[in-house]
Amino acid sequence: MEEPGRREWLKGLSLAAAGLLLPGCEGKFNETDLQAFFQKNFRELSKEELRKVLERLEKEYSEQYGQPVSVKATPPKEGVSFAYALDLSRCIGCRRCVYACVKENNQSRTPQIHWITVLEMDKEKGVDIEESNIYYDPDTVPRPGKFYMPVACHHCDKAPCVKVCPVRATWQEQDGIVVIDYDWCIGCRCCMSACPYGARHFNWGQPHVPAEEFNPETDYLGNRPRPKGVVEKCCFCLQRVRQGKYPMCVEVCPVGARKFGNLLDPKSEVRYILENKRVFIFKEELKTLPRFYYYFGI
């Protein structure tokens, strides 16, 4: 019997193993790809490892978008617990927030991803999702007899999306923001079916953001570019709010219907609203304990 070439056999196998180890690097075998492949979950990264990951991502994005991109990983602050309030009596459904969010958070233009969905509903029928319309496009808003309800991630304290994630790629931070590690997400979309607010969106295709519209101030858990095949959602503009700024939707709202602040600060706007206004929690009966409150200001 002819002995099979042992050397060839080994060679072939090691090549196959290398091929299996490095899917999607198009034949280029270098340390960066290896580092990316062996990257741990964000919460298990040591300081040194995190520094290296951020460095690698900055380099990668800077090359991709042809401008210096900063990727930070600002930790949550002590004594801060974020909450959001939205005035249903003021929102006019102009969708300024939707597009400001797209720009700030580098959401894919094609295929389109919007983190905020604005529902148009009848005043007579009240909050009724079955009757709502998200494709309204009149010449001017608000339309008579209608009211508008923007919905994005509610950053629930008992978030079903966090509970179902099989790989723990999504979790709630100390300051209440529910975040996603886009490098750890396997794209199973369990969280999307678990979320009662339809706040999570899947990158079905390679996300495309024009380089001239790219926001280079990014955060690892916030608005950094997402790969294809992962889930993304509102992050309360983590890259802004952890620097003390308001989220972009608050800054852009032309009617001042959006309020943001620290629940633990008795002087914050959200505290005033929760204490003095008629507050409505969307799908309260599900007991997800959202940090997003609708209220009636007038």
Partner: protein
Amino acid sequence: MNDERGTMNGRGCKMKAKMSCRKDPLFIIQHSSFIIALGCGLLIAFSLARSEENLPPTKDNPPQVKESQAEKKDSPPEKKDGPPEKKDATPPPQSPAPVEEVPGDVIAVAPPPFSPGIFPCSGCHEDLELSPIPHKMTKRHKDIVLNHGPADRWCLDCHTLNNIDKLHLASGKLIDFTESYKLCGQCHGPTLRDWKAGEHGKRTGLWSGKKEYLLCANCHNPHSPKFQPIKPLPPPVRPKDLR
């Protein structure tokens, strides 16, 4: 993605079939060589990753990432654009006036939204004699449509006859245009209360520090305060049209 998985499965099946049909003792040797080869590959990969880790931090990437971020937190934020509709009407902020009544820190209020070149009013009004009797504007200020409260309201309810650069309260107290919220608050008490607490109107700047307030007149035209309907931005693409 599905295609990749499909081909991989196919490859696996073929390999299995090939291996199971071999019954000679050589199969075990080959099988063990497969494990050894895989182990070697992994070892090489790990050692490469290790050697990369042991490299000293480069000059332009100091290891203290978090500290540098903490410093940046204190730096003042860049001023973002205001509401897109108001852009033309609002001049760039020059000297934000502090508001004493507002709780918390001293809060900057945006300057009043004068049309360019209109302030100080005395620039034109110095030589003009104002009529104290209500009348229709025929020469100047024809663009002002008064649609605010009762029909008999007119200019000198808020503007001052003898000092046109100031507004006045019902008590007769003169106030600057930068404090116009006091004038509005005479009728809209609850709204003024909510505005001071940050509930009514828009807050920009820092949630944790200096908040920028807008004057009532920055959003509501004081002569015709009702919000005008605006054109909405385009609706989302329907899932069937997603490309």
